[in-house]
Symmetry: C3
Subunit: 656 residues, 3 copies
């Protein structure tokens, strides 16, 4: 368990660099991420390469025992490059060029820009691939930030036509797969196909889904190009990219396949304020710590994208600048977030940024240091974590590396699938339904029961799990079907599971499609509801309300919950269960508790705001409430903290 | 009273066609609408015409005694046609081309596209004009759907300049009519005139109104072109177009003049959810049946556009896919809607669609059959209606054709005028005011009083009416003035009546302009209010609140209602009355009841959610409430249903 | 104290002109503004100049003793001019050309359009500069109306590059000032710089701020060009421009430097309805009189832009047409507004417009006359004011000119700075914070304490003030710092004061930057809050809530208010105080009352809706409440009105 920080030597006079490195050391920071926005400093004029500043900073870090995560600077191509290759710019859905003047001004599909990236990454990798300070490389920065996955420029159209031709072979196959006969949308050749924007009404959902897939694949290819260069010149270093919160526009599992570690950038307060997933009540209650499951959900999600390895590349250290409102974190929140990350398997937590910049777009974004180089609150909390990690290691008899490799996998898995996300959000039927939010609410309920959850891709092995939740696995591939049939634990499939074919059609046997053998039922009709109507539901497992999505199902399976018309809502027997509707949090928890019991797992209703996570023999307890809460896990002894947890408090326990 | 269905042979394997026709027959369906989106199947390549599939399906329908309504396929031109004539595409108000990829990708003003339509419609009419299965033709599909009446492309500009030159003759006449001196907006020639979009602030309202009229006239011309061809090649068949709900962007009366029947597409749940006319309370109360006056209002409106003949071309049979939320209808709702349509004079109710398509944009739109070809709920309700029609006919001693020709006109008329709608909505003064909504609320109040209402155009004969309501007849033409002067019944003119000249100016004598002789009063000033301020109103006829629009009037007429400053709100004597403000539903009902009484009509305050409609000697009673209601009309005996109507219940009575 | 009116001879037949002039005279009107939209009447064809109508109208006004304010017609260039110079058109932020068809269709930066303006203004000035009726010239009309300050056309880009080159000299200086290193945004030459629109995410705030400044400077230059011509040909006449309410997009102080008088266009009801600054409760309470501080705030603001001289060029006389809802004013409101203006130093109140036009965009905008030439309510109220002015003059023993020159400056100053406004709104941190609104709420609180306030520019002399409020003076220039150090009165600096350098960077010593010597404190961190969280604040001076913006401050100064964590909120001693947060109205009033006391000023908590203003020895009392209120100022005797003020009532007192 290590700490890191994001740093920009190019923003500060050289005279500060040594001082900063010493200060990082004092706090206990071991990793520094640099370089990812520095292209114009490296190459201020075409082919005029300024390496000296970077040489010197790397040497300083090395001299102070700091390991460097070096970023490729491709998220911020300089103006001269853009002027030479104007076709590298993206276009938004309205057809407007997205110009220079901020960052991420390129489309992934641009071959001209890929060539420019190949060149600069090669130059960097050749120069620093074997530098002793360089422990890792970050490719680009936050793929897709500012809504940059879908682009509607000419270059994207070319790429899309090629992608479709490769996928379908013949235009007849595409017409059939998309059902283009529907509104005389048939094409005679791939060259007739347009991008699915600026149509009179919505484009064919199959068309939209394939365009999303194509754009996602452009990201994969763009990343692969950099990975290949870095592997060649800097073998043995961890390759990583920094993902974002609540962001699903490309397939992170696919990108993750080519990297060594998954990392993400966690801003609990900004996302609480910004995201429509949260209620006004939640936004108020968790204003200064973030929602209790925000960090956890993404830690578990991205650990699943990183083949089990997780870093936090950017951890919010204070108020940020980009949310609609930017409050200060509670005292202790930075420490809480850091421990939460460790408890989910993070090897490294790196704060963004070292020092608040007094200029540019993010001048109101806090750092560990203030703009005047004094320590901000978060610096002290980071130092406290360093001390506590030592205490924990001593208590467990483990050194730092052993701590880092404590197992983090659980017995409960929730399947998260980017393709399912795109499919279902293209036609949500009720504006109140979104795939991501439903996954999140399922995860929240599991976690409120004290369960440690893995979030897994649809091609993951299921062998180690006792309970598996498929929130809404739109398309069930043959391979997944095989693994589900072989699964020995308890399975819960949620609404919309198996409701689409691979090319966005309704299966011949209706939903749940290929799962009907495992779950003998038919979804006959869907009742997609506005918030103002929440019908009652009740049965052997509890009572509550239906929300947003409610399937009318025909089945002979035993029903654990029914709606007020007597229709099945939650049904199943033995080890396979199906939930046909979104249901309220209370009933969801009650149902999941029953399923956990069936799976031989013990669960507990945690106090509001409290969360628990196990990692190896360590139990972490977190209090996200804004008042003191008492909690002690069973069969464990206290190592750090108190049974009475203060607001934003953490306690750490060792299993007996 | 017949049932029909919309069907797409091109979506299904040939092997299904006979089976489907037999199934339709079994249910009792007599009409099938086909063809309207099939251009790319008919003509997959330019000039390569595939008629065989259509030949065969027509023969199958004919063999099974099904009558066909054949749609011209001009709402979905194929990609190759668009690529040949890119200027046929519309531009939206922001100047963006509205491209291929869904439907309705053309502008009505395009002469190139009209020529393409002339060709394909001629080919179809020549081939099928005399086919024994073809009973009727539908031109295109849902003119204006997806906001396609106003288009801002170059071809529209050309058409507009020609239209203006024809209307005004000289540019001086136009400048004067528009008042262009106002902001130095004078033009020197028709070629200087631009479309009224992308101006710095709002364009001249006279300019906007004429553009709306021109665009509406383009629809009329576009439809006329198809009508002429069909009349030539398929004489004797009913020509029809399918209009939409709450849609006013072209003059349906003008289009209707060229057709034999008016039809419309009724989706009570989608419109309830989508339209801002309804309150949150209404959206909740009527979630599963739609608002009690939604269907009725449009039935009466479109019967008035169809010279007394009305069809329902598309009747919602289950959840749809396009509203923000798409709930399932109540049990019985499809039957309720079908009978409501018959009670307003519909000869035919055709369900959209026969079978839910598993692909394309509308794959979540229910049909009578599910995607797996099993019957959905609505199929049973349709079959029930067929049986009930038989019972009703027997009870009345009428055969099917006699039932269809039962008289449907009433004694109360509400005047609906598209030109008035455009005029008043261009400058509503209060965002809370809209012409259509005010008409709807007047209609609702009349209907809550048990009255059967005709909705008539401004050039209709008034001879048969006892009570005439002019909701807000902005411009009073000389011809209308003559008919109003001659009218023998009771007249109520609402706020904004007579407030504009033909070219969008204030009349010299102020509102009500030419009506001042009939209604001696002057509208001195207008108080246009937000929702939060609803001043009190009271007088001899009741008390309540003013809403949104409140005129300050000088008159010597007796006042039945006054505002709290003593200003006249409802005034008149003898047979002519003027209402200067929008008023709340309770007071509106009380006032209309008084007027009905003055007109010698008896009215009754119906229970909440209950509606009644008379057609000939039959009285229909509908319960839109979600609970049981007791109601029996006076002087009638029960033929079908119960005095205690269940939720979504219908009872049918015969006058003694 | 004079009355005027806006008139459009070109809208009416010549036969009306004499009649209108006589009617104005009868009411007591002395000034007439004309001409500002008449270009197409003056010059219907290029170089074909029609002066006769204007010659004749000027002669008629002169013959009737009416003084003319002659408008240059540059806000409405005719179509032929636009067609000749299409590059004169602005582009909006989305890159769309803002075309002909309404008004203000030009960008200030267009040299072609400036040349056209130079020509037409010269022609007018040559012809009428010495006409005896012409007392004043108005340049153009409402600079910036309809969001026309920022334009993104090619001509604007050219102007911006020149402006930047002049400001920074070298591109290196610009890169440093903007902090372009931040995201590789460095430029190699001024020709690489683009406009800050259509970037992928927000552009550099320094970039945005400079663009705003550049656009503001274009307005200054545009106005200067006309001023120079008018000074040359019409020396001795007052030059004036008419500003707008709640409009800050250009620096009115800079434009005002070149003119003789500041005027503005006041529409109290339209702005109440339209502006998000007001709560729903305020919108309801003040529906028919406007918010009590709307007029006052702008009168004081613009008097400060006019070197102490203020006119009202357009005063709302009845319902307008452009707000979301357009109610009628209360009886007496027009009189109230007129007296409020006089009480703040207005020399002239001119009503917009003389007669309601029956055509064009504003046909629903009331005038003193109705479209049928009858007097509307406001005409009587204007006549009443004329009579009351006479009474007041007699009571004070002053003639009309002496009344006009009564002193209007106060002892309390609030500093309003356009550059600060732009700076802080570019990055508000909390969407609930806006510079203008915070200034307004401070002004409101001062005025609710009965204080008469001057609103001054940042370069104003401070010598005459006892209390000075800096709401949020983002950048403290060296010159201002000198004056603040020398200031002898009580100073209150609000949150964000001194928080930015001149080029939008954080000062090295953090906020309050250069003011730290006067106010020894450091703003360590900012808590930017949503509306739902309003932490408690309390201390020696009262208790209440924090809103939107809350600074965490380190200081040794005594604290008058602290937050619930004990952090300083309001601090200071002697004569210098700092408020680090926005606070609620009650606590703001309590705090300002303490500061007024410290400054030796007496204040009083006025009844809700009541406002008081002193001018010389006259005290004006206004009742904006919708019910009767009792109020008498101390030590004064009643001249006009009553101690019990009716709704919208005014009383006028003479100090003893
Ligand atoms: Zn980001
Ligand atoms: Zn439609
Ligand atoms: Zn304006």
């Amino acid at each position: 368990m290590k700490l890191g920080v994001c740093y920009y030597p190019e923003h500060w006079p050289k005279s500060r660099w040594v001082e900063d490195a010493q200060h990082m050391q004092r706090i206990g920071i071991e990793y520094v991420r640099i370089g990812e926005f520095s292209w114009s400093t490296i190459e201020p004029e075409p082919n005029e390469l300024h390496w000296q500043w970077l040489d010197e900073s790397l040497d300083i870090f090395h001299a102070h025992g700091l390991k460097v995560i070096l970023g490729t600077p491709t998220a911020t191509p300089p103006k001269w490059l853009v002027d030479r290759h104007p076709s590298m710019l993206a276009k938004d859905e309205q057809g407007r060029v997205r110009g220079f003047g901020s960052r991420r001004h390129y489309t992934f599909a641009s071959l001209e820009y890929r060539e420019a990236c190949r060149r600069i990454v090669t130059l960097m990798a050749e120069r620093y691939g074997q530098h002793p300070a360089v422990a890792s490389w970050q490719t680009d920065n936050e793929y897709g930030c500012h809504n940059t996955i879908l682009s509607y420029a000419e270059t994207d159209l070319v790429a899309f036509r090629i992608w479709l031709a490769e996928k379908y072979g013949t235009i007849a196959a595409l017409n059939k797969a998309w059902g283009n006969v529907f509104w005389s949308m048939d094409y005679r050749s791939f060259d007739e196909i347009e991008l699915p924007n600026l149509t009179v009404t919505e484009a064919n959902p199959s068309h939209r889904l394939d365009f999303q897939r194509c754009c996602s694949d452009q990201v994969v290819a763009f990343n692969k190009l950099q990975v290949a260069i870095l592997r060649e010149h800097s073998a043995g270093r961890d390759l990583v990219h920094n993902y974002m919160g609540f962001f699903t526009a490309f397939d992170h599992h696919k990108v993750g396949q080519d990297l060594d570690v998954a990392s993400w950038d966690t801003y609990p307060l900004g996302f609480l304020d910004q995201e429509s997933i949260y209620t006004e009540e939640e936004k108020h209650a968790y204003l200064r710590v973030g929602h209790p499951d925000f960090g956890a959900f993404h830690h578990d999600l991205y650990r699943g994208c990183g083949k089990g390895r997780l870093w936090i590349m950017e951890q919010q250290p204070g108020p940020v600048n980009w949310a609609p409102h930017n409050p200060t974190p509670a005292n202790g929140a930075v420490r809480l977030w850091t421990w939460e990350a460790f408890s989910h398997g993070a090897e490294l937590v790196s704060y963004f940024r070292w020092r608040q910049a007094p200029f540019g777009q993010e001048q109101m974004h806090a750092g560990l240091l203030r703009p005047d180089a004094q320590e901000a609150e978060a610096a002290q909390e980071a130092a406290l974590v360093v001390a506590e990690v030592k205490v924990l290691g001593e208590s467990l008899g483990l050194d730092a590396d052993e701590l880092m490799s404590l197992p983090s996998a659980g017995k409960v898995a929730l399947m998260f699938d980017y393709d399912a996300c795109w499919s279902l959000d293209i036609q949500p039927q009720s504006r109140a339904y979104r795939y991501l939010f439903w996954c999140y609410r399922l995860y929240e309920a599991l976690r409120e029961l004290g369960l440690s959850v893995d979030i897994i891709p649809s091609d993951a092995s299921l062998d180690t799990y006792e309970l598996l939740v498929l929130p809404a696995q739109a398309h069930i591939s043959p391979a997944l079907q095989v693994r589900l049939n072989a699964f020995k634990g308890v399975l819960l499939a949620g609404p919309r599971t198996g409701s689409k074919t691979d090319t966005y059609q309704i299966p011949n046997n209706l939903a749940p499609g290929p799962l009907a053998s495992l779950l003998p039922l038919t979804v006959e009709r869907v009742d997609a509801l506005p918030n103002h109507t929440q019908p009652a539901v009740s049965g052997r497992w509890g009572s509550g309300s239906l929300l947003h999505w409610h399937e009318q199902i025909k089945t002979a399976l035993p029903c654990l919950l029914k709606d007020d018309g007597g229709n099945p809502v939650l049904m199943g027997e033995g080890r396979n269960f199906y939930l046909g509707s979104c249901i309220d949090n209370g009933l969801l928890k009650a149902s999941l508790a029953k399923l956990a019991e069936a799976a031989g797992l013990s669960s507990v209703y945690l106090p509001k705001g409290v969360r628990v996570r196990e990692r190896g023999k360590v139990i972490f307890v977190f209090n996200y409430a804004s008042h003191e809460v008492f909690f002690e896990p069973e069969g464990a002894e206290l190592v750090i903290g108190y049974r009475h947890l203060a607001a934003a408090g953490v306690s750490i326990w060792k299993k007996r």
